[in-house]
């Protein structure tokens, strides 16, 4: 009886340790990283910020996409918004799609931001940050440029107004549209 009890306790202890190890392995395996250039952009479906309904990334397949992650509390996003709107009006005739993804933000403040900066491209909300996380984003603004096949052409981990990223953004736009 004692031997059986001892064996059971040992089994339970081993099971607990194995469970914890499995949890650690799962956690390590599910850490989110930015999709590298050339990789397929993670699929998503998000609610529209500027109206009812949802938008999925897949529905834009066949068109180049500029995917901009932003938030109303983000200071650099303010100056970037003007540039994005200007580029959107410049490139929209060439079939490119601009999508803004509002991240970890209050919807009311985000809508106010969109109105204040007169942004006209499609805005989506990702309050929980689930989609933003799948793009490996830890701070905003960040921008991805995707080609017609939905592959990443460029990842700009900072404001496109920054001289470091401005040139890269222009060249990525040209590559995506070509």
């Amino acid at each position: 009886m004692t031997r059986r009890l001892k064996a059971t306790v040992q089994l339970v202890a081993i099971g607990c340790v194995a469970g914890l190890l499995a949890l650690l392995v799962w956690q390590l395996g599910h850490q989110q990283h930015a999709p590298p250039v050339g990789a397929m952009a993670p699929a998503f479906t998000l609610h529209r910020l500027d109206g009812p309904g949802k938008v999925s990334l897949a529905s834009y397949r066949g068109k180049p996409i500029v995917l901009n992650f932003w938030a109303s509390w983000c200071e650099p996003c303010k100056s970037e918004a003007k540039v994005l709107e200007r580029d959107w009006t410049t490139y929209r005739g060439r079939g490119i799609v601009f999508l803004g993804v509002d991240y970890h933000d209050l919807s009311s403040d985000a809508r106010r931001f969109v109105r204040a900066h007169a942004l006209t491209f499609t805005m989506l909300e990702d309050g929980s940050g689930r989609v933003t996380g799948s793009y490996g984003i830890s701070q905003v603004p960040e921008t991805y440029v995707l080609n017609r096949q939905g592959r990443v052409v460029a990842h700009l981990a900072g404001p496109i107004t920054d001289p470091q990223f401005a040139g890269e953004f222009r060249s990525a736009l040209a590559r995506a549209v070509a």
Binding site: T2, A71, S72, W73, L106, G127, S128, G129
Partner: protein, 155 residues
């Protein structure tokens, strides 16, 4: 006369803003309380431990809703609707989240039971009724007699 009009205007404005506060039908919650209950979504600490812009935005929202007489529960629900369940520092008391509340209790209870059982088994070893060592010295008669002789010399 102008002064009286101005005074009346100030009092009127004050009353307009004070009226909703006075009309609060329940004890007003506080920012300090909710700051410990709500997470900063970008820094993964509670609001009271964060100074990020996202945290300040949420604090502003909470202050605004407290002023509008919202209860803590209503404010939390609004934040959950916007940011998802992860905005709350503690898991909910529903569904799978219940595990987070009950597992530690179950662990403590299980540990206490295992300890009690181990103590019970240990204490039983020394209890009467169990086989004891046989009585007597275990020496043969000759040795016992010689030992008695030796001891008698010392008396």
């Amino acid at each position: 006369m102008k002064l009286i009009v101005r005074f009346a205007a100030v009092v009127g404005v004050a009353l307009v803003f004070a009226a909703p506060a006075a009309a609060c039908a329940h004890p007003r919650t506080s920012l300090a309380f909710l700051e410990g209950q709500v997470m900063c979504p970008t820094c993964h600490t509670t609001l009271d431990q964060s100074d990020s812009q996202a945290a300040r935005q949420i604090e502003g929202f909470i202050s605004q809703k407290i002023a509008a007489c919202w209860t803590a529960q209503r404010i939390e629900s609004a934040l959950v609707a916007n940011y998802g369940q992860g905005i709350l520092a503690a898991p909910s008391h529903k569904g799978f989240d219940l595990l987070a509340w009950w597992l530690p209790i179950a662990g403590v209870l299980g540990g206490a039971l295992a300890l009690a059982f181990a103590v019970w088994r240990w204490s039983r070893r020394g209890e009467p009724g169990e086989p004891e060592a046989p009585a007597g010295s275990g020496l043969d008669e000759e040795t016992e007699r010689r030992l008695d002789d030796v001891l008698a010399r010392f008396e």
